[in-house]
Symmetry: C2
Subunit: 356 residues, 2 copies
DNA sequence: TTGAAAGCGCTAACAG
DNA sequence: CTGTTAGCGCTTTCAA
């Protein structure tokens, strides 16, 4: 583990001072005469010494570590979030522990508890935990949630509602008279948010809104619901996430239903491949979201260490609607297609029509 | 940070024993009478006590933490690897720190050094570091490399050569008389491996092999080289990775070149979307690779802790060729299409022919 | 401005 | 089997 490095004592001896002085030379330079400090620093360099983080943590009572807990690191939604958080944490001198809950609330609790014991703060992304558990975790360390709102706990959320409204408006403008929303996991907070956003948007547009029941899998969920969608006569589909949307697109293609010719599909998350495949979607600057969350968490840790009272903040990050190929053409006079969706060539673009 | 929990002393007092007995009750149960141990465990539960990892690490000299360093967590190649490693580590009671080098060797060194100070072992995935640096890191903690071979350092590699041979054989059998390999990052070890594997495979088949120069980006790299490929009259392309391959496919489509009608494309990695999009590719069980690497690392840590001498092992994990849509049809009498590539419907499948 | 002393919470000899 | 003693390496009162 730790380098077989020198200790404070060694450095102190070499610099001809006491260990406390060495310690202070780094932690509170202003308490030490410039000259002494110079000697200490030189000795430290000579011995290639850096303070042992473990020992420091033990006495200081803080680790300079945070943990990031995600439901599934393989879900492309999370890596950008993690990277953003990671970079920000690193920038501020914190290291990052990683926890994967495998989409399971019980496991998430276990992981979070285990991790809480060795970090100053927890970043819970798309947590499936009941609010009560999250509040309990906060007794043990600072907590910031991402993609979730818990009263009294700081969080960063992506504000999808306005984009959902624009998406529905686009679809209605293009001639669709109903929107089908394909749900994500039953216990997903963001699924609830998205359902609500889509329903509200449909209400505002006076459009029928059908919500398909949650099911498991991501891509598979999408493919599996295609028969239901077709049976219901769906022509405009909003999906819980991009993977689900891609599953829908694939399932439709299997049945020779053209996208967007026959059915328009819009996903959510703007995962990298979405742009490449011309999938319309609602996206957000995920790196920034992750970074904002980590920043919030670390500020909270600092405030807490400074003895200040807790104060929870909710940061809303705006989302963007990318109207790409699968959303179908904009209605005449409507908004132009936007987003860098030209990665895959646009195929036939006609208005929605009944399937043969 | 750490829970404001009780300490060994508290538990010892409540159980009416000494702190050492408490410590032993958990670490060396067999040294303690069943009865005493029962009392200790009960007291611990009553006080909701778990040993403080920091303190334990400080005395034991080991952290029960490992670090995983990747070039870019957003690259879909890595999440499965990380997840596999994570799960295995967790299974063995280790937590995982995460480092992202941002594809930059200097940064990787910095990150690895920082991390080495707080873990028992380092898992370097697709490391861009010179062998010398890696050996130096190993002076500070155990190291296992993934997707890389360094003399004297344990590693797990994916053996792509046999699949590359099969791929070339398939292409040659389908009538292609040359193979174009699109390189990945210049400093990538696995790119070197893949170039070598493809060249060897072509030599074995008596086929011409053209290697396009490395360039940056992933998807973009693929799209950008399409003009060169077409100018060179390429009909069979092997790409460094799936993202690059998808870029090539997109670029070809932009120019109305059909895949696999006009050009066959095979990627590498079998990222989840590959199967979904019908992209032929060379894949491997990445979760297992990650798990194997973590297992190897932790075993090494244990061996080292037990005072045993170092012993480096190289694990080769076999790869699989998934002949999907983009590879074109199998030659008559050749191998059938394999892999779960039916996610996207197969399109026209003809033998390669000259472009208009 | 500096040093001496005490201790963070735990574990590991070494006795008994 | 169990207790006593002595730290792990660092920080931090408290005095000087």
């Amino acid at each position: 583990m730790a380098p077989v490095s020198a200790t404070v004592r060694d450095v102190a001896r070499l610099a001809g001072v006491s260990p406390s002085t060495v310690s202070r030379a780094l932690a509170r330079p202003e308490m030490i005469s410039a000259e002494t400090r110079g000697r200490v620093l030189e000795a430290a360099r000579a011995l290639d010494w850096v303070p042992n983080r473990l020992a420091r943590s033990l006495t200081r009572g803080s680790t300079e570590n945070i943990a990031v807990v995600v439901p599934d690191i393989v879900n492309p939604f999370f890596p950008p979030l993690i990277r953003g958080g990671q970079q920000e944490a690193w920038r501020r001198g914190f290291s990052v522990l990683l926890g994967d809950s495998n989409e399971d609330a019980a496991r998430e609790l276990h992981v979070a508890n285990e991790l809480a014991a060795q970090v100053d703060g927890l970043l819970l992304m798309s947590s499936r935990l009941p609010a009560r558990e999250i509040l309990e975790l906060r007794e043990r360390c600072e907590v910031v949630v991402v993609n979730r709102v818990v009263r009294g706990v700081s969080g960063v959320v992506i504000d999808t509602a306005p984009s959902a409204r624009r998406a529905v408006r686009h679809l209605v403008g293009a001639g669709h008279d109903a929107v089908h929303y394909v749900s994500g996991p039953a216990d997903s907070w963001s699924n609830k948010q998205r359902v609500a956003a889509v329903q509200a948007a449909c209400d505002a547009s006076g459009t029928a809104c059908h919500v398909l029941a949650p099911s498991v899998g991501a891509f598979e969920r999408g493919r599996a619901c295609v028969d239901d969608l077709l049976a219901a006569g769906a022509t405009a589909v909003l999906a819980y996430d991009d993977i689900t949307a891609l599953g829908i697109v694939a399932g439709l293609a299997d049945r020779d239903v053209r996208v967007p010719g026959d059915v328009a599909v819009i996903g959510c998350d703007d995962i990298p491949m979405a742009g490449q495949l011309g999938l319309a979607t609602i996206g957000a600057p995920f790196d920034s979201v992750g970074a904002a969350a980590a920043g919030l968490l670390i500020e909270q840790i600092a405030r807490r260490a400074g003895g200040a009272p807790r104060r929870s903040r909710l940061v809303r990050v705006p989302s963007t609607l990318f109207l790409r190929r699968t959303a179908g053409p904009a209605p005449a006079g409507g908004p132009a297609l936007s987003g860098e969706g030209a990665a895959m060539p646009a195929r036939s673009r006609r208005s929605p029509r009944a399937r043969a």
